[in-house]
Amino acid sequence: MKRELKLFLGPNHPGMHGNFSVHLYVDGDIVEKARPLPGMLHRGFEKLMERRLWMNNLALIPRICVPEPDINEMVYAMGIETLAKIEVPERAHWIRMLILEMARVAIHMMSFGGIGGPTGLYTGPNWAISDRDLILDIFEAITGARIYHMYIVPGGVRKDLPDGIEKKIEKLMDDIERRLPEYEDLILRNPVMEKRLKAAAPLSAEVCWELGVTGIGLRSTTGEPYDIRKVEPYARYDQVEFDVPVHKGVSYAYDRLSMKFEEIKQSIRIIRQVLDKMPKEGPIRAKISRGSALRWRVPKGQVYSHVESSRGDYGYFIVSDGENKPYRIAVRGASYPQGLLGIEKYLPGTRLEDVAIWLDTMGVCSPEIDR
């Protein structure tokens, strides 16, 4: 006999990522129906940005994606630079890459270690989050803030790197790299985790194309390096060498997790090259307007600018009508497809205890879905 049970997973649930809810019908422990319930983090950013000046928006945009704020600053700056045809100084490009890659290491550490949350391996988060914190210390030294940096501005970066930070970054990267084998032993080579994750949360290429999943999800099924850093290099990603980890065929939670781990290594590789190839001196910001930045007007136009975030293609659609405020900015959260339609269509069939793993390894980030 079938007995269905209605279950609310979230928003107050330790397995949920952020303030997000999934309502489920379960039969035994198999999910029969699932409905996402977003909107708990909705702040109406798209409306608020229309009410603020182009420069004032710099304070608002990092808050759209909480765990990885720098990509927001980057897409906003890139969009405006396209519209206003601003040339960014060479050194600023490299500093931006440095910030973006350190942010990528930080978020991947958090989510790689964070898999310990849904699986019950609490050593993982304890190690990874405190190691991530050391990266935040570097951010604090460069930008003055731990989480929301407001550092990448249209035309370049806000201020130059402090003296001697390169040494510190290099040392930290060495430290993290030395720690990586321990993480591998703890999580990837842990027999319990292998058993738990190797058959959980399958994803196929057809599903990716149907939903529009990008990032690790798409790369883990198609076997192609579909990474915007490779396909459409922004900043100076065409001048550094790095590999994009890929996997072909149906991917499981374990595959995607090990790809995250590989991406940490690649990001460290990029950071080392950036420190090596970066011009040591030079301007860091182009002049964007003749008068005060508050009176600054961006020329008329529409542009979609996007970067590769840790979860995939992340971008802003920016519309300017030549005024001192944006006419409209639409945010494309990278986890929008898998976080809404994906949950509804492809969560049914998984077991209840795998739901949190599904959400974790698909990279569902609720603040960017809700905006």
Partner: protein, 171 residues
């Protein structure tokens, strides 16, 4: 058919776009009539633009029009195409593209929620998604004032000093 000019010429030969805007070397925008939008999207999808990146809407209140923007992306040939069309602002309705891009379902709900555009054929497009018990006009329309709504619903804390700059003071 690799460079962007070839694609634009090809689209101009096969369809009757109103206008083509080149944004930069990897992106262009194309304005089409309402009737042609679905055929052009289906054509481009067959050509390799397999990913619907974003579906959004712009409120041109002075023209009394909504502009729907479909941003599609091709991973093999990295060119972003913004397919745009304008619909009437009073009683806005449009046909869904779920049969072409199934991922559009929630984007259409999103646009309905924030602009009030109804998508025929997507039967759930009128269901609330982010907002719960919303009691005003759709919030991203230009004639909606969030500050007035916020003051009405959620009383602000009174301060003796006014921290918030008045309209135009920042200038």
């Amino acid at each position: 058919m690799n460079s962007m000019n070839d694609i634009i010429n090809d689209l101009k030969n096969k369809f009757n776009p109103i206008n083509v805007d080149v944004v930069n070397e990897r992106q262009f925008a194309i304005d089409v009539e309402n009737e042609e939008l679905h055929t052009i999207l289906a054509y481009l999808k067959a050509q390799g633009w397999r990913q619907l990146t974003l579906l959004t809407c712009i409120d041109w209140i002075k023209e009394n029009k909504f502009q729907l923007v479909y941003i599609i992306y091709n991973w093999e040939n990295p060119i972003t195409i913004n397919v745009r069309t304008k619909i009437e602002r009073d009683n806005p309705k449009f046909r869904t593209i779920v049969s072409i891009y199934p991922g559009a379902e929630f984007y259409e709900r999103d646009v309905h929620e924030f602009f009030g555009v109804e998508f025929e054929g997507n039967e759930r497009s009128t269901k609330p998604l982010f907002l719960e018990l919303w009691d005003d006009i759709p919030p991203l329309r230009k004639d909606f004032d969030p500050l007035a709504y916020s003051k009405k619903k959620f009383d602000v804390r009174d301060y003796k000093v006014d921290f918030i700059p008045k309209e135009g003071e920042a200038e």
